[in-house]
């Protein structure tokens, strides 16, 4: 495993990402990761807040259309995140705060998928938010906020 991580980190791709002076290398990938963050967490916030009672005038059924936006942002961040990880694979794989971030993101995705199934799973949802959705929505908000903080602290807690 460490050999593989070092091979990734020493690859020509990694050398380009980290070493290139071009703003299209590391800066652009990093910026795409932040664009994706805005879309992923922005979409999660809309879904979670609606389930917690914000915007009761929004038909619950219509919240379904926010999930594809969530997955669009997640795809952007999976791709850009993999690029950023590969370029520093051996260093990141052993950085505790990165592993915390990874865990929070995985849990965030699981909770969001659960919300999708619980509330919108079978046919059209009712008018009222199912009571099981509220704790999931609160968990989702906490997990995404935690993932953002952990991600930011990666620059400081080496």
């Amino acid at each position: 495993m460490p050999a593989l991580l070092h091979a990734l980190q020493d690859s020509a791709f990694s050398a380009w990402v980290v070493g290139s002076d071009s703003i299209w290398a590391y800066p652009m990938i990093l910026t795409m990761h932040t664009v994706g963050l805005g879309i992923v967490v922005g979409a999660a916030v809309v879904i979670d807040f609606r389930l917690l009672g914000v915007g009761p005038g929004i038909p619950l059924e219509e919240v379904r259309h926010v999930f594809p936006i969530f997955w669009l942002g997640f795809t952007i961040n999976l791709v850009s995140g993999l690029m950023l990880f590969v370029s520093e694979a051996a260093d990141k794989a052993t950085q505790p705060v990165f592993l915390v971030k990874l865990l929070l993101v995985i849990l965030g995705v699981i909770v969001t998928a659960r919300i999708r199934r619980r509330v919108f799973g079978d046919g059209s949802p009712g008018v009222l938010v199912p009571s099981a959705a509220r704790p999931l929505a609160m968990m989702s908000i906490a997990l995404w906020a935690g993932a953002i903080v952990a991600g930011r602290l990666m620059a400081y807690l080496k």
Partner: protein, 162 residues
């Protein structure tokens, strides 16, 4: 360093804030959470203005706007903190001025909507397509906020003047 930045960095408040080493990362974390609130809340309304999700009543789609404004307020406060701590990173930066420009564009766009088109929101029936003027406002808003995000994140990399 430009004289303004040199003066501001020499002030007591700037020095005291810089000495709190945890303050910068704490403000960064808040800045990114605020960003998500702003993009999520404003973006949702922008998509409705663009004519998506037509079964959502226009007035209901606005429900997240107070949260978007809260996100903006968080980012204005934390952004001002960054500026006070290290003005020399921003004053000569083309990316920072571009960011400020797009914040002003987004703000004026929102004010234009509220003062002129906003009242027409009530007249829009359910499932009705939005008029072109609404679509333009939504597109300008969405583009501007992502431009703000783009130039903010690119700040350390473009137009730093060195």
């Amino acid at each position: 360093m430009d004289p303004f930045s040199a003066w501001l960095e020499g002030t007591r408040i700037s020095t005291v804030m810089r000495d709190m080493t945890w303050l910068w990362p704490a403000c960064e974390s808040m800045h990114f959470i605020g960003l998500a609130l702003l993009i999520g809340g404003a973006g949702y309304f922008d998509l409705r203005l663009l004519g998506f999700m037509r079964r959502v009543p226009m007035t209901a789609a606005k429900a997240f706007m107070p949260w978007a404004i809260a996100g903006f307020a968080m980012n204005f406060v934390t952004g001002t903190a960054f500026f006070v701590m290290a003005p020399h990173m921003y004053v000569p930066s083309a990316a920072w001025w571009a960011k400020v420009f797009f914040i002003i564009v987004a703000g004026m766009n929102a004010m234009f909507f509220e003062t002129t088109l906003g009242t027409r929101v009530m007249l829009l029936g359910p499932n009705e397509d939005t008029p072109t003027s609404f679509k333009i406002v939504g597109a300008v808003s969405l583009f501007s906020w992502f431009a703000v995000l783009f130039f903010g994140r690119m700040l350390p990399y473009i137009g730093t003047g060195n």
